[in-house]
């Protein structure tokens, strides 16, 4: 028996048959308890029995992301320690100055990060700014930061990744022509 299935069975035992049926129909359409489903059960278990019955009755138990920020309730409560009922926006600024223009995009650091954040982490693509190669200039970087500062609130998380050539105490942005050290040498 997987730990997920056991979590579900343990949880079922606390409710009457009608509620059990509702839970089974919601959580087991494919016959398995996924990790996400098990985590939601663990999340719900933290509430009082009366609250849980109400959640099953009004079907809010089946919503894995109450605040709709792309991070599931369990993750926010138990792992990330961010509020599960407050929208936490996630933004990223990915700078990859050294990417040659003819390099396939998927091979750049910024693209690996972009794919991870957008595909795996479900960060809205409009929240991820990616500046690579000749676009990774100081001007564009400052514009992107200004853009972020206007969007980001105190509840949000921001990730800035700088990838490229460095020197003591400075980072070499691209000059817009594919050269990524000239501006640091000024």
């Amino acid at each position: 028996m997987t730990s997920n299935a056991r979590t579900f069975i343990d949880y079922l035992s606390g409710f009457d048959q009608d509620l059990q049926l509702k839970l089974v129909n919601s959580f087991m359409p494919d016959g398995n308890i996924s990790s996400d489903e098990a985590n939601q059960i663990k999340f719900l278990s933290g509430f009082s029995h009366q609250d849980q019955v109400q959640m099953i009755d009004n079907s809010s138990f089946a919503n894995f992301d109450w605040d709709g920020d792309g991070m599931c309730n369990y993750f926010e409560q138990a792992v990330n320690h961010s509020p599960y009922d407050v929208y936490n926006g996630r933004y990223a600024l990915l700078i990859d100055t050294a990417t040659p223009a003819d390099l396939p995009l998927e091979q750049s650091d910024a693209d690996c990060m972009y794919n991870f954040l957008v595909v795996n982490e479900k960060v809205p693509s409009q929240n991820v700014i990616k500046l690579t190669g000749p676009f990774a200039t100081i001007t564009n970087f400052k514009s992107a930061v200004l853009n972020l500062s206007e969007k980001v609130s105190k509840n949000d998380f921001v990730y800035i990744a700088l990838s490229g050539h460095g020197n003591f105490d400075d980072f070499g942005f691209n000059d817009g022509n594919g050269n990524c050290r000239e501006q640091t040498q000024e």
Partner: protein, 371 residues
């Protein structure tokens, strides 16, 4: 652009947390500037030359991440600190990852809720594969030492650990406090108990602050034990937590059968319907069901009646844990469902309650939907 200028630029952003990583030569020189700001900062410099945190780990996230590679505390998620800790194992040059200010790397900062391996058990349960458990230990207060899966989740007693009989356990203790620490499993919650499994970490010595040490042992005895710290300068051998070693061959819960596939009858009018219901044993014991006790008459939600013929076999069917059983049967109108005008056909739409009785007399109930 100097890192000081970059810091002044990004400091206009006022988020809950700002994470910055730099992959570049001499990136460590960015630390004094980028690790501090008007909002909480997490900074990771990527170290020297072409070994770096971001590409190594993001490539692995995207392409070839393996269970347990990064998720040191086995909570199913990868924090920033875990990413950087683990990066050492995948370096492609001899240079080491530069942590910068380790205290500034929050272990509870995550990129999101992407789980690296959805089949992994709960954090305190061993992952079967000899995976690595990473425990942090340190002072929670002046008189209390705790431990946890991250330095921000210390508790006393610490989290319960579950291993499986015969399993090789790899344990790392990371001292995030000021007092020297060690770790071992005993039969009692003090040093008078028998030492088990040669499980002592840092035998003969203790782990200093911000240092870690590992031990590998075989969980060769079933039972409930304790892990403790035998550190002499702590108050009365603080009990850190319980360890349970279980034998997977010992069934600890009865079988459970749940329907995993609903009936395949359609709403097309017919004079009879073929229905299959797949039941999966998600328990630990073998389920034995008597098909003659399978009942599938009545209780259709739309008041349609069904006629249950003799099941297709009289043999007992055994379902081992994890296996599935398919019940196939047909039903006809028992006269309670309305016949379709002009022909001997009727419509089946609703739910069938199925009651299964085992040879031990246990009854349980499940339901199949007909759409």
């Amino acid at each position: 652009m100097t890192y000081e200028e970059i810091n002044q630029t990004v400091d206009i952003i006022k988020p809950s947390e700002l994470l910055i990583t730099v992959f570049a030569c001499e990136a460590g020189t960015a630390l004094p500037f980028l690790s501090q700001g008007s909002s909480p900062r997490v900074f990771a410099d990527i170290g020297a030359h072409w070994f770096y945190f971001a590409s190594t780990n993001f490539n692995r996230f995207g392409y070839n991440l393996k269970p347990g590679e990064l998720d040191l505390d086995k909570n199913g998620y990868v924090s920033v600190q875990e990413s950087i800790n683990t990066a050492n194992e995948f370096q492609i040059e001899s240079a080491n990852v530069t942590y910068g200010d380790l205290n500034n790397l929050a272990s509870n900062i995550y990129f999101g809720d992407f789980e690296i391996d959805t089949s992994q058990p709960k954090p305190y349960v061993s992952p079967y594969d000899g995976g690595h458990i990473w425990l942090c230990v340190g002072e929670m207060s002046a008189n209390t030492v705790g431990c946890g899966f991250s330095r921000f989740s210390l508790m006393s007693p610490g989290p319960e650990l579950t291993f499986y009989l015969g399993e090789t356990v790899n344990m790392t203790l990371y001292n995030v406090g000021a007092l020297p620490q060690s770790w071992e499993i005993r039969t009692q919650p003090n040093i008078n108990g028998e030492l088990l499994f040669n499980s002592t970490i840092s035998s003969g010595g203790f782990i200093s602050q911000w240092q870690w040490s590992s031990v590998s042992f075989n969980a060769s005895k079933v039972g409930k034990f304790y892990y403790i710290c035998p550190t002499p300068n702590q108050p009365e051998n603080v009990i850190w937590g319980q360890v349970e070693v279980i034998d997977l061959k010992m069934p600890y819960e009865q079988f459970v059968l749940l329907p995993v596939v609903s009936g395949n009858a359609t709403t097309t009018y017919s004079d009879h319907y073929q229905v299959s219901v797949v039941l999966q044993n998600i328990g630990t014991a073998t389920a034995t069901i008597d098909p003659s006790k399978v009942l599938f008459d009545g209780k259709l939600a739309s008041d349609y009646g069904v006629y249950a013929p003799t099941p297709n076999t009289d043999n007992l069917l055994r379902v081992k844990p994890g296996e599935s059983l398919t019940l196939q049967f047909s039903f006809k109108n028992d006269g309670n469902s309305p016949w379709r005008p002009g022909g001997p056909t009727f419509e089946a739409l609703g739910k069938v309650d199925i009651i299964i009785q085992t040879e031990a007399g246990t009854q349980f109930w499940c339901q199949a939907c007909l759409y």
